[in-house]
């Protein structure tokens, strides 16, 4: 069941025993700026398509989730004067197109990964314009079925 707040399927937070979709009201994104974009990003970031056992359905799902996320980012970006973010969003769409909706293989993974990285950068730009800290998926890892966080570092 998906979270009524952000639409993403959460899992119990570590040690918390809370399950947002089932009981509601505990969405970790609630109250954050660009909650939908953050949640949409993390759903893909922690998605099965990145796992060793990912299949073609996982890839296709990731493609469509990314497509939806990029469209939502484009809408958010319309109201902002952030040319660097527009450039990155264009690159994200290019990478998504290069991946293709029904394709498989390491190249597809790479393109999807690039599209997601560009999307993350644009979300960071939107948050920066509002004076907020960048979005870190690691902060929300406990709410997803994530075995590990790929990296967490900052400068």
């Amino acid at each position: 069941m998906n979270c009524p707040n952000c639409g993403v399927e959460h899992y119990p937070a570590p040690g918390g025993g809370r399950t947002a979709p089932a009981k509601g009201g505990a969405c970790p994104y609630k109250g954050t700026a660009y909650a939908g974009l953050r949640a949409g990003h993390d759903q893909i970031y922690f998605g099965r398509w990145r796992g060793m056992d990912a299949n073609s359905i996982d890839l296709r799902r990731a493609y469509h989730q990314l497509e939806r996320l990029l469209r939502e980012i484009a809408v958010a970006l319309e109201k902002e004067d952030v040319p660097a973010a527009r450039l990155d969003l264009g690159k994200a769409f290019d990478a998504l197109r290069a991946a293709g909706p029904g394709e498989e293989g390491p190249e597809v993974l790479r393109h999807l990964d690039h599209a997601l990285s560009y999307a993350h950068r644009v979300i960071g730009d939107l948050l920066h314009e509002k004076g907020l800290a960048p979005h870190s998926p690691a902060d929300f890892a406990g709410w997803f079925d994530a075995a590990e966080v790929p990296f967490r570092e900052d400068w």
Binding site: P83, S117, D125
Partner: protein, 185 residues
């Protein structure tokens, strides 16, 4: 003229502390000098002048020309904790290339300040119609290299044993380029 109406700009760091970004002003000489003095030696090695000398920093502060050198300072409380400088040529074949230098106080690293400064410089570079941003970083400064790469800079070349620090030891120099939207169009 470079548009500066977005300043002062408040940002949030990863520890929820707030910092203010704004262009350097003539009265910032003391703050900048104190900031530069506490940087590690390796961070100071690419300055063309001895930044431990107060008169050098005072001269910078009294000869500001934002169209040639735009230093954006990060202020936390009363302290300068970071600087991002955009160097531009007003004429000539490099007038659409902006050179970037970003310095972060050691006690304010890994809080996202460096990344925020890169975002600012990218924004300013777009606003003045640059084709490229160029950053030169000593290879040991891996956090800076990774942050620049994550923000869209691409390694153009690594010069081996190319630059020396203030003790004379040689270091690899990483040159990174960021293509801007005017060029991509």
């Amino acid at each position: 003229m470079i548009p500066l109406d977005r300043y002062p700009k408040e940002i949030t760091l990863r520890d929820d502390a707030r910092a203010v970004l704004r262009p350097m002003r003539s009265e910032d000489a003391d703050g900048l000098w104190n900031f530069l003095r506490q940087l590690p030696e390796i961070d100071k090695s690419h300055f063309h002048e001895d930044v431990d000398r107060r008169e050098v920093v005072e001269r910078w502060a009294t000869s500001l020309d934002y169209d040639a050198v735009l230093p954006i300072l990060a202020i936390h409380g009363e302290r300068v904790v970071g600087s991002a400088t955009l160097f531009r040529n007003k004429t000539g074949w490099k007038q659409r290339i902006g050179i970037v230098r970003i310095l972060i106080s050691p006690d304010h690293r890994h809080l996202g300040l460096g990344t925020a400064m890169i975002r600012e410089i990218r924004h300013l570079g777009e606003k003045v119609g640059l084709n490229y941003l160029l950053a030169e970083v000593i290879e040991e400064q891996q956090a800076a290299v990774r942050a620049l790469e994550r923000m869209g800079f691409e390694k153009a070349v690594v010069h081996r044993n190319f630059v020396n620090d203030r003790k004379g030891d040689l270091h690899n120099l990483v040159v990174l380029l960021h293509p801007m939207s005017g060029l991509v169009k």
